[in-house]
Amino acid sequence: MAVLEILTYPDTRLSDPALPVTDFNRSLVQLVVDLQETMLVGPGAVGIAAPQVGVAQRVAIVDVSPVLEGDRNRKPKSSRNGRLVLINPEIVERDGEVTGREGCLSVPDYTGNVLRADAIRVQASNELGESREYHCHGFESRAIQHEIDHLDGKLFLDRVMSPRELFRRKAYK
């Protein structure tokens, strides 16, 4: 078990597309454990991807439970699939568009509004190599798209919208 160092922009490794996982071995299981531990140390993080710790493999974790289970009366609209281990994830269906505010462990002190698919169907393997499919919407869907972006070498900064654009969308849509 280890808390790994989080790379922050402008570390160029964050821009490198990650490689598909081919061996579902013990070191992969260990990576998932370490990612989980590292994510929990991050302030309010609901996901993490291997490239954020300098590992160029298509591995990510998403768990929006901490946010959805907060004691607030108004929780974000979201599906709830618990902790998702996403190895070689692929979004096979997208539906709708919605804006929401994102931050990133790898981009300290900046948040911005990003347009994402509202609902997605995602196929992935778990750390044992078993195929899984998830239907997600809202906050959970956003988290998965954010993490898959990391696997493709993208940060939310690549997608951030100007406040004025958001203003017009919110006001007139």
Binding site: G47, K75, G100, R101, C104, F139, R142, A171
Partner: protein, 173 residues
């Protein structure tokens, strides 16, 4: 030791203002911090944090050639500045209604009374000349979450305004 200044520039909008200002500042050894430009009613406006070694009059001298040639009003204030300390909003409020005097006063007064701190506000006079519509989008922080604004919102709805409050759940991944 360098000093921070807030430079406010207002004038008739025309191409090249930001480029002209930022070029002379850069060449004069002045660095930019955060900035916000908006086009308000056809007028160019910008506020820029500017940092450098000199006095306010040194800074004014650097800007003057661009200000004079483009017909801009320039105002400079010495400021205390802190970077890397952005408070995050937890609520967005969207307001619209038939334009009348006092909408912003009503909205911000009632919401401040309910505990809202405004972090960002944009407003526009939309609609048509005969039938203007006032639109406001506010990002803010309220200690006890969006629910704390409910009674203020009900009051504003009775004043003929359409007010929506939506929690901002920042995704960190």
């Amino acid at each position: 030791m360098s000093n921070w200044y807030m430079v406010t520039v207002v004038g008739h909008d025309q191409p090249g203002i930001v480029a002209g200002l930022s070029r002379v500042l850069s060449e004069g050894g002045w660095g930019l911090g955060e900035s916000s430009m908006a086009r308000l009613g056809g007028n160019f406006t910008i506020m820029m944090m500017v940092r450098g070694e000199g006095s306010a009059s040194d800074l004014a001298q650097v800007i003057d050639p661009v200000g004079t040639s483009m017909g801009l009003h320039v105002h400079i204030d010495r400021i205390q500045a802190e970077l890397h300390q952005h408070p995050e909003p937890n609520v967005q409020i969207r307001v619209y209604g038939a334009d009348r005097t006092g909408i912003v006063a009503d909205v911000t007064g009632d919401l401040a009374g309910a505990g809202l701190t405004i972090l960002d506000l944009n407003s526009e006079v939309s609609g048509t000349g005969d039938s203007p519509v006032y639109v406001i989008v506010i990002d803010g922080f309220v200690e006890n979450g969006a629910d704390a604004l409910d009674s203020a919102v009900q009051l504003l709805n009775k004043k003929g305004l359409k007010v929506d409050v939506e929690p901002i759940d920042i995704l960190v991944g």
